[in-house]
């Protein structure tokens, strides 16, 4: 009979596994605490004592001390370090001392807000003070909304709701804005890239409204470990910040293990698929009833792993206790999964980085990552899902064949010793800025000389006046348009127009099962694409591009689909250039055109190509910021064909390096190479932001080009293959010393 093994048993077994390339053990850490300050209301202290909190961790103590004095703070806190007390304590104290005080909590998602409300309300009910905290989001019923506006001491919401529902209706929130003492920004590190650039502008609008009502709230931000928390917080809130990083929380013993799948094809340096290895590793934990979370990098990957694991363990535990979790699932479904994880009903979950955030799913024992999550910060966040304050936990990172994964598992010190990444935003992106100035003008008229954040915006106001959006009388610009500007602007994606996914498997019961942004839909929801949702396969019967609807039907097939995107690039303007020995690096504006060409059908079990088909969708155009590398006098003996392959290889490496260096999603930055660039005829590699107008990523690459160049060269040099493999520059090119030549080309810049 099958005898269950414990986690320590399994850890011991794993130690002798030959595929393990690095075993890092993190010792338990004792707590560092500080007593409550005298100013803390005895009722709050008693309530916390009831929950076993008789002292504060050092970082909580500092947060309370500074925030209560009205200083804006950003606290850097790893997963499960009691960060909520960093803001709840000063906020509750302020309300206990003065009943009219108000606070606004911002969470990046609705799920986190819901979570926070239940936790907060537990403390409040134990305190015996009548403090009302409410979530305010799309699910809040109209009857409750009235109450929240008038009587909510703590309003918990998300930036989207603030942007489209609260700020444009600020006159309904007078009692909140007149008495706003604190603005809490949790999960600060998630506000980066396009989303962060939008939110920075939403906060500028928020501060404008506060000023109108005469309040001057203090900001309390909390963030996962990133390289520049203070800078990001200051950029996002437009206020000076104090950094709190004296984390005093204890930690249990953690084993952080790198697992590299065995090589199956020596000449090509091809390894066994990480997905397959993850399936088998996860299965071992699950059949021993050890609660496990598996992270995968894409939505498709989540669904593939989910169906495999469900299949593997279906005879031992029910498939219902292994679930998927990702954006695109409907909120109700997600709440149900979170609850199941907390109360142990669900044993395993396969997730995208959606569960990286502070959604409360309780303490899991094992975390398995399918490949390097793409950034150091995000890896630590995911690792934090396993093991909280006490007890042993295992974190397994299974490397894929990509260059960066291979680089990390073969250079563990890179990961364990290096500083985490920078989070970048660009609130001055012209499109984003102008959009929010429209919204701001709708909310309150602009005086001629008024600034928006640190900016002089007269020129933009005059432009909007010409556009007949604003009307100038005297020295003031007034909103003068029928539109409701906030509804035209989405904080989350480049395009407001998401594609809605309609399941018509059951003609009598047609349902909407999810949605997807326009650019992703081009390659994931084209006609005949296989779309996976909760482990169920759907085939797209028709993508109605004009009406942004994808009609799908449930199917049961042996393959998934993968689409190719053809990209063309034109330089519009060069801002900065730097010449070096044999080439140049430029920064400027480019126009990118994209068109999906074909899709391939790939067999689920063997990942072999079993067919293909065309995709007919209109071309999309993107104007954005780019940095590009131009090679001037390349060795003519190389020949065009080889040079092209070398460029492709270098582009491949840069595509992997850049998201790691500038901390963004892989899809935020694109890299493409051209043997003859249209504007110069020279061999060129372009690195561009995948958002109209750019969000500062390519600009950052220009600034830190030497670092990027060095890291790319290093990656190629350190790869264990002989002369090129898919883990670095791509396939081997016979007898030309491709690796050496690639490094030479790179370093000549």
């Amino acid at each position: 009979m099958f005898k269950k093994k414990t986690l320590p048993d399994l850890i011991e077994e794993l130690r002798s596994n030959e595929n393990i390339v690095n075993w890092h053990e993190m010792q338990p850490i004792e707590a560092k605490t500080t007593p409550f300050e005298d100013s803390v209301d005895p009722r709050i202290r008693a309530a916390l004592q009831k929950r076993g909190i008789s002292e504060l961790y050092t970082h909580q103590g500092s947060a309370y001390r500074l925030a209560s004095r009205g200083e804006n703070i950003v606290a850097v806190t790893p997963t499960a370090s009691g960060k909520t007390l960093c803001y709840n304590l000063p906020v509750l104290q302020a309300i206990a001392a003065d009943e009219t005080s108000r606070a606004l909590y911002l969470f990046p998602t609705k799920a986190l807000a819901q979570d926070q409300k239940s936790e907060l309300n537990e403390i409040i009910s134990e305190m015996g003070i009548d403090i009302k905290s409410y979530t305010y989001d799309g699910d809040t019923s109209p009857a409750i909304r009235q109450i929240v506006r008038k009587a909510g001491h703590i309003v918990i919401t998300n930036p989207d709701m603030l942007h489209s529902a609260i700020l444009p209706h600020h006159t309904k929130w007078v009692s909140l804005f007149e008495n706003l003492k604190f603005i809490v920004v949790d999960e600060l590190h998630t506000y980066r890239g396009v989303f962060g650039s939008h939110v920075a502008n939403v906060i500028r609008r928020l501060k404008r409204i506060c000023k109108f009502y005469g309040s001057n709230p203090t900001f309390i931000c909390t963030s996962a470990t990133i390289a520049n928390p203070k800078e990001l917080a200051e950029q996002l809130t437009g206020s000076p910040m104090r950094l709190i990083d004296d984390n005093g929380a204890p930690r249990g013993r953690k084993h952080f293990v790198f697992y590299n799948p065995p090589i199956v094809n020596v000449p090509l340096n091809i390894r066994k698929s990480a997905t397959v290895e993850v399936n088998h590793l996860a299965k071992e934990f699950l059949r021993n009833k050890i609660q496990t979370i598996v992270f995968a990098r894409s939505r498709v990957r989540v669904e593939i792993i989910l169906s495999h694991i469900q299949e593997l363990v279906k005879n031992e535990i029910g498939t219902k206790s292994i679930r998927g979790y990702r954006g695109g699932y409907l909120p109700k479904q997600r709440r149900e999964i979170e609850r199941g994880l907390r109360d142990g009903e669900i044993l395993g979950v396969v997730s995208t980085n959606a569960l990286e955030l502070g959604v409360d799913i309780g303490q899991l024992q094992v975390c398995v990552m399918t490949g390097y999550p793409g950034s150091i910060a995000s890896t630590w966040q995911q690792a934090g899902r396993a093991g909280r304050r006490h007890g042993e936990a295992l974190i397994l990172m299974v490397a894929s064949s990509t260059p960066i994964d291979q680089y990390i598992v073969s250079n563990p010190e890179y990961f364990f010793d290096r500083n985490p990444e920078f989070a970048r935003i660009n609130p001055e992106n012209l499109i984003i800025l102008v959009d929010h100035i429209r919204c701001a003008a709708y909310e309150l008229p602009f005086k001629n000389t008024e600034e928006f954040g640190p900016l002089e915006i007269t020129e933009i106001l005059e432009y909007l006046q010409e556009e007949r959006v604003l009307h100038k009388s005297g020295d003031t610009f007034y909103w003068a348009n029928q539109a409701f500007p906030a509804s035209e602007i989405s904080l989350r994606s480049a395009s407001q127009e998401n594609v809605v996914i309609v399941d018509q498997s059951n003609v009598a019961d047609v349902r909407i099962i999810g949605e997807m942004d326009r650019f992703s839909a081009m390659t994931l929801l084209h006609d005949e694409a296989i779309y996976l949702h909760e482990g169920v396969q759907f085939q797209v019967e028709k993508l109605d591009w004009d009406h942004k609807k994808a009609y799908v039907r449930e199917v049961d097939v042996e393959y998934y689909t993968d689409a190719n995107l053809a990209v063309n690039l034109k330089v519009l303007e060069i801002d900065k250039s730097r010449n070096s020995g044999h080439g140049a690096v430029h920064q400027g504006d480019v126009a990118v055109t994209m068109i999906p060409t074909i899709f391939k059908k790939i067999k689920l079990t063997t990942f072999e190509n079993i067919g293909s088909g065309p995709i007919h969708l209109p071309e999309q155009e993107l104007h954005t910021r780019a940095t590009w590398l131009e090679l001037k006098d390349t060795d003519p003996e190389l020949g065009a064909k080889i040079l092209e392959q070398l460029l492709l290889g270098i582009a491949n490496v840069i595509q992997h390096i850049v998201p790691v260096m500038v901390m963004c999603d892989r899809s935020d930055v694109h890299v493409t190479s051209q043997i003859k660039a249209a504007h110069t005829g020279l061999p060129t590699i372009f690195i561009y932001d995948h958002y109209p107008g750019g969000i500062g990523l390519a600009d950052d690459v220009y600034k830190r080009f030497d670092e990027v160049k060095e890291a790319a060269a290093n990656l190629i040099r350190k790869c264990s293959c002989k002369d090129g493999c898919p883990s670095c520059i791509g396939n081997e090119i016979e007898g030309i010393h491709a690796k050496q030549k690639s490094v030479q080309l790179l370093l000549s810049l």
Binding site: P168, H169, H170, T171, K172, V174, L430, I431, V434, D435, A441, Y442, E443, L444, P445, E459, I460, E462, Y463, E466, E467, R468, V469, H471, S473, G474, T476, Y478, W479, A480, N481, Q482, A483, F484, P485, E488, I489, S490, A494, S495, Q496, A508, D509, L572, D589, A591, E621, L622, H623, T624, P692, G693
Partner: protein
């Protein structure tokens, strides 16, 4: 400037998140009137006609100054015997007492302020500005209609100053959807201009709500212009629809020519008069029909009669409601759903006798169609099972209900419907047990 425009166009061509704005029109400067500095009280005293152009004065518009600056006002006086459709506006003095049923507090005509806004956009957001505020109130034996207009956003201050002085004199705010639109919009404007948010807290007489209760299924639209045509005998000629008002105002804002606003003034004026007539109609209705003196066309369809009755009952006039119900039953042509509606009311009121009669009538009328017949037979089944303990009759009704629901060709079998059918099956099984029959008969 041009470089910013070029850049925006380039980026937008790609982003396409922002709709392109309308054709730019050369912005002719609006002739700024010379503002007189004398500080005047906010009483409606117009002066300085000279400063307004001929176009304005031909519409009867005058310039008004106060501490907040200047704005425009158009003032119209209607005698009590002015007829607007079915009613004379003077009937209000007789009808007004009926309106006391709304807040259980006496109402006098002098306490009513009628309000209707024309705004620059939709919704009650902070960027939606009422460029025209229509007011009406009763002064002695005359109805005064005042239409305040701002020539540009900066004039709003002066208009609000004028309005806030005015509001305090009234206790009731009469409107059509004013509770959730017109008044919240005004409140927003006051707050944004620094007034206390509680500067006036009127009792609402919002006639959209009773209109919806009564005409929900009888009129194709509940817009005031449709209601007045169907029930107040008013016909508008060459009316500018309210939805066009923002566009016309922006046109004026761009070129300074007030001509397009003529139609908006007229539209708003009729709205104000119709609002008065709607008050008269509801007042008469609450006061009781057949006072003889006034004409009050009564509904002719059972649906409207019953809904009117239900509304009267809700407003505390049960006796008059009963007259409506009786009239509706006498008409012998009510749809099954309508009969069910009254039956549901009777069931709640304990009038089982008439309820059963109505259900039977409903059932007889809908042998071949409609969930109304099914609902009626379910109700009858429950009545026979629980009230009369007559299980055989109950069984035959529940069987009929099942048949109707299963044989229903048009109905979509959604989750709710499936649950209903399931419940019917259960009921039938239980009744079969109670009647001691064999389950095989199902």
């Amino acid at each position: 400037m041009s470089s910013l425009r070029d850049k925006m166009n380039r980026l937008r061509g790609a982003a396409s998140t922002v709709p392109s704005s309308e054709e730019p029109v050369a912005a002719a400067a609006v002739a700024e009137p010379e503002l007189t500095i004398e500080s005047q009280q906010a009483t409606a005293q117009a002066d300085d006609l000279e400063t307004l152009s001929e176009e304005w004065s031909s519409m009867g518009v005058k310039l008004l100054h106060n501490e907040g600056g200047s704005f425009l006002i158009r003032r119209l006086v209607y005698p009590a015997n002015h007829r607007h459709g079915t009613h004379c506006i003077g009937e209000l003095s007789a009808a007004v007492s009926g309106l006391s049923a709304f807040h259980e507090s006496a109402v006098a005509a002098e306490e009513l302020l009628f309000l209707d806004l024309e705004t620059t956009g939709l919704g009650a957001g902070t960027g939606n500005v009422p460029f025209m505020v229509g007011l009406a109130y009763w002064a002695g034996s005359e109805l005064i209609v005042e239409q305040a207009v701002i020539r540009h956003p900066a004039e709003e201050r002066a208009m609000l100053y004028y309005l806030h002085k005015k509001l305090a004199n009234y206790r009731y705010l009469v409107s059509y959807n004013g509770k959730s639109f017109d008044w919240p919009v005004m409140q927003t404007r006051f707050i944004m201009n620094g007034y206390n948010r509680k500067l006036w807290e009127p009792l609402h007489l919002d006639f959209l709500h009773p209109s919806r209760s009564i005409w929900k299924n009888t009129l194709v639209s509940l817009r005031l212009s449709h209601v007045e045509e169907e029930r107040l005998g008013i016909e508008r000629i060459d009316d500018v629809p309210g939805s066009l008002a923002p566009q016309l105002y922006f046109q004026f804002l761009a070129d300074g020519n007030p001509e397009p606003l003529r139609g908006v003034y007229q539209h708003n004026e009729i709205d104000m008069l119709s609002l008065v007539c709607l008050s008269i109609r509801f007042g008469h209705l609450l006061n009781g029909i057949g006072t003889g003196e006034f004409e009050l066309p009564m509904p002719e369809e059972p649906e409207e009669l019953i809904r009117t009755g239900l509304w009267l009952e809700k407003m505390g006039h049960g006796d008059r409601a009963e007259q409506m119900f009786e009239a509706a039953i006498r008409l012998e042509q009510g749809a099954a759903a309508t009969l069910n509606m009254l039956a549901a009311r009777d069931k709640k009121a304990g009038n089982w006798q008439r309820a059963v009669l109505l259900w039977q009538k409903a059932l007889a009328q809908s042998v071949h169609h409609g969930s109304a017949g099914m609902n009626a037979s379910v109700e009858l089944a429950m009545y026979y099972e629980h009230k009369l303990k007559d299980y055989d009759s109950a069984l035959s009704y529940v069987s009929e209900a099942l048949e109707l629901s299963l044989g229903h060709p048009l109905g979509r079998k959604d989750a709710k419907r499936r649950a209903e059918i399931e419940a019917l099956r259960k009921r039938k099984e239980r009744l079969l047990r109670k009647t001691g029959r064999n389950l095989a008969e199902i």
